[in-house]
Amino acid sequence: MSATNDAFLETFPVTLRDAATNWLPAPWNWLAQGLIAVVAVLAIFGSLFAILTLVERKALGRVQNRPGPNRTGLPYTARLPWLKFTEGKIFGLGQPMADGIKMLTKEDIVPREADQVLHFIAPVAMLAMSLMTFAVIPFGRNLVPVELDASVLYFFAAGAATELAVFMAGWGSRNKFALLAAMRALAQLISYELPLILSFVPVVMIAGSLSTVGIVAAQSSWHWGFIPHWYVLTPWGFAGFLIFMVSALAESNRSPFDLPEAESELIAGHLTEYSGFKYALFFMAEYLGMTALSGMAVTLFLGGWNAPLPFLQFIPSYVWFAVKLLTLLMGFIWIRATLPRLRMDQLMHLSWKFLVPLCLVNLANTTVWHLTASLPLAVRWLLCAVIIVAPFTLIGRSLTKGVAPRTYRYAE
């Protein structure tokens, strides 16, 4: 740990919070600090959600050779001299706001046949659950809303409940497409919870901690002073990271695993009968869930808030966290822009026949890594890489058997 730990910027958020709450008597002091954390998470990730929707649409647009939303400006910005060149459009920054206003003012339609209670609870539960997962993510040094001993467990316990909300939405809508979506959501959750959990078990094994803070702390050193000690840079960690990200795509219903809301098959799946504010809540929950899972991936595999190189530590830890988080989010968007969707049975096969076995192999791999601690790093690294790459190739080959690109004959 270097001296930068006490830098002004590094401690600034905590200092600010303490200054605001330290004058309060003991129990209230604690409550106020919690409240501030909640408000801060809500504010930061709420606005991140808003910007993310815009960024996603713009990135998708750019990938597809079009500009994306670039018209909706914010009022009065045209008068600001330094924004004059944007002619009040400021690159479409007003789009999320316009979307929000549109969503809020739309009519809320509840089908007559719908299960009124479930139809109402579903979006609320979904948003609440995905917000709750933010409680244990360490956003920076000393910046974790709740420090728990078993915070990783907490994260996945809370995250598991979101698919329940998808089920409620699908079931409660009394719509056949939504019902199919509900079935798909359940099956998908059951299939992907397992690889998601199994993929981080190696991290817990090596870090020796179930607490997110502990896991980040375990990754905060450097080999030879320049290779960060992040788990993603080990063979088992890399495999775990990939499996985690694939499962995270499925857990957050993102393309190519967006089967519950597959628009070309099920119109909008569980969202078919939702409109207005409730739809906005679902939308928000999806993005927040994606953000939370990315944050957890950063914490578990990418060294959390640690800087990649020692001399970069002068940049505050939360900035590093944000950079990594945004990188992963851009990855989500990139994948969405590229890949077609899997079919339901293939989705299950991918989980049960590919990810889960790989996870188990990876567990063994981690044990090997742990037991060969005395060997030189390069040897260890190669050994473990072979252990994970070999089954990957073998299982992958069996999965793609018989679907090699074909050759075609021609008639003259």
Partner: protein, 408 residues
């Protein structure tokens, strides 16, 4: 998901009617092992879903009444006619010429080939020759239309697979270039109304032909990139092979034409068989599939695009000068002798034919369109049975229908 082994030919076709269940003892004769009999007394856990007419992936106002066992299609009935405007009656109530712009609106992606097919039928009916240069222009436009249609189809198919618009937008980027060419030639991007009986409407300039050459030269680069994005993609390889296999026997019996037929392995291309226009003068190959599944249908189209490019390259080298309209051709007041004629060409979607009966009056007595996508839809149920609902969507996408043509 095991694919239906062999499509049953016509005689043992599974009944799709709900009209008289006693006449058809269930779907037990249907292909595929995982189809539960619809007439199972325990019917309740089948889910009947009406996909369409307002559904994102039915390519227009098309409806599939799907009965699902879980996610597996056990019964599928196409319902259409929402766009029906009785095109044939319109054609019978107007002059021969006035039907020409209406043919644009049949398959609104391929107005040029529709125009040609209609012009060909009328020329057959009236015994009208076409000058040399016009034949060249017609071929160029038809092959450009084929490019345009196939590239759109590939994009839409991927859209149906769930690729959030990216391949579609790439496809549309290239399509726009062809549409620009059409616009600068005929004045309209999609409703070209370009062909006339005995020639074409506007003589393309040398500059226009140069633009076509440039497009033909640049197109393979796009195709390569598109194939890198799609063809080797594992998800595409998981989704499409083995899905919606069409046996050659059924394909022939059901009158399937176009890339769908050739994907089933039947060597039948009207450009070769009928040898209309100046196609016999040029060398091009006809790609043939072996499985007749969705992947083959996609790949055949990609390969056909490449062949079309080769063909265009040859044709662009020797376009003769001369008139584009036969001097004896009548624009107005065409009154062919009494008789009938069936003219057909290989449209991008298959055989598009026009059948005309003349009674010597300025209006055709009978004006019939043989739309390829309408006939190709015949086998939709056979292809989808035993596959999941997600597959039904991409099978429909790979059949390549345009509702303007199906409903007429």
């Amino acid at each position: 998901m095991s694919a239906p082994s062999e499509n049953s030919p016509s005689a043992v076709r599974p009944p799709s009617s709900g009209a008289d269940p006693s006449a058809f003892p269930g779907l037990t004769s249907a292909p595929g092992s995982n189809i539960r009999a619809v007439n199972d007394p325990f019917h309740g856990d089948l889910l009947e879903v009406s996909m369409g007419p307002h559904h994102p992936s039915t390519h227009g106002v098309f409806r599939m009444m799907v009965t699902l066992d879980g996610e597996v299609v056990v019964k599928l009935k196409p319902v259409f006619g929402y766009l029906h405007r009785n095109h044939e009656k319109l054609g019978e109530n107007t002059t021969y010429l006035a039907s020409m712009p209406y043919t644009d609106r049949l398959d609104y992606l391929c107005s040029m080939t529709n125009n040609w097919a209609y012009a060909l039928a009328v020329e057959k009916l009236a015994g009208q020759p076409v000058p040399e240069r016009a034949e060249y222009i017609r071929l160029i436009l038809a092959e450009l239309t084929r490019l345009l249609n196939h590239v759109c189809l590939a994009g839409f198919l991927l859209q149906d697979c769930g690729a959030s618009g990216t391949p579609l937008m790439y496809a549309f980027r290239e399509r726009e270039k062809i549409l620009d060419l059409f616009e600068s030639l005929s004045g309209s991007r999609m409703m070209c109304n370009y062909q006339r009986f005995g020639g074409c409407r506007i003589d393309p300039s040398a500059e226009w032909l140069d633009r076509v050459r440039a497009l033909v030269a640049g197109f393979p680069r796009f195709l390569d990139e598109f194939e890198r994005l799609i063809t080797g993609n594992e998800i595409m390889m998981a989704r499409t092979p083995g899905v919606g296999c069409l046996s050659p026997k059924l394909a022939i019996s059901a009158g399937i034409t176009g890339p769908m037929l050739r994907a089933a392995g039947v060597d039948y291309d009207l450009r070769k068989v009928d040898g209309y226009g100046i196609y016999p003068r040029y060398k091009f190959r006809v790609p043939l599939g072996a499985h007749g599944d969705t992947y083959d249908r996609y790949m055949i189209r990609v390969l056909e695009m490449r062949e079309s490019l080769g063909l265009l390259e040859q044709v662009m080298k020797d376009i003769p000068g001369g008139p584009i309209m036969d001097p004896k051709a009548k624009l107005r007041g065409l009154r062919p002798k009494a008789g009938e004629a069936y003219g057909r060409i290989e449209g991008p979607k298959g055989e598009i034919g026009f059948f005309l009966i003349s009674d010597g009056s300025p209006n055709p007595y009978r004006y019939r369109v043989r739309p390829p996508s309408f006939v190709n839809l015949t086998v939709l149920e056979d292809l989808c049975l035993g596959h999941t609902i997600a597959d039904a969507v991409i099978i429909l996408g790979s059949i390549d229908i345009v509702l303007g043509e199906v409903d007429r």
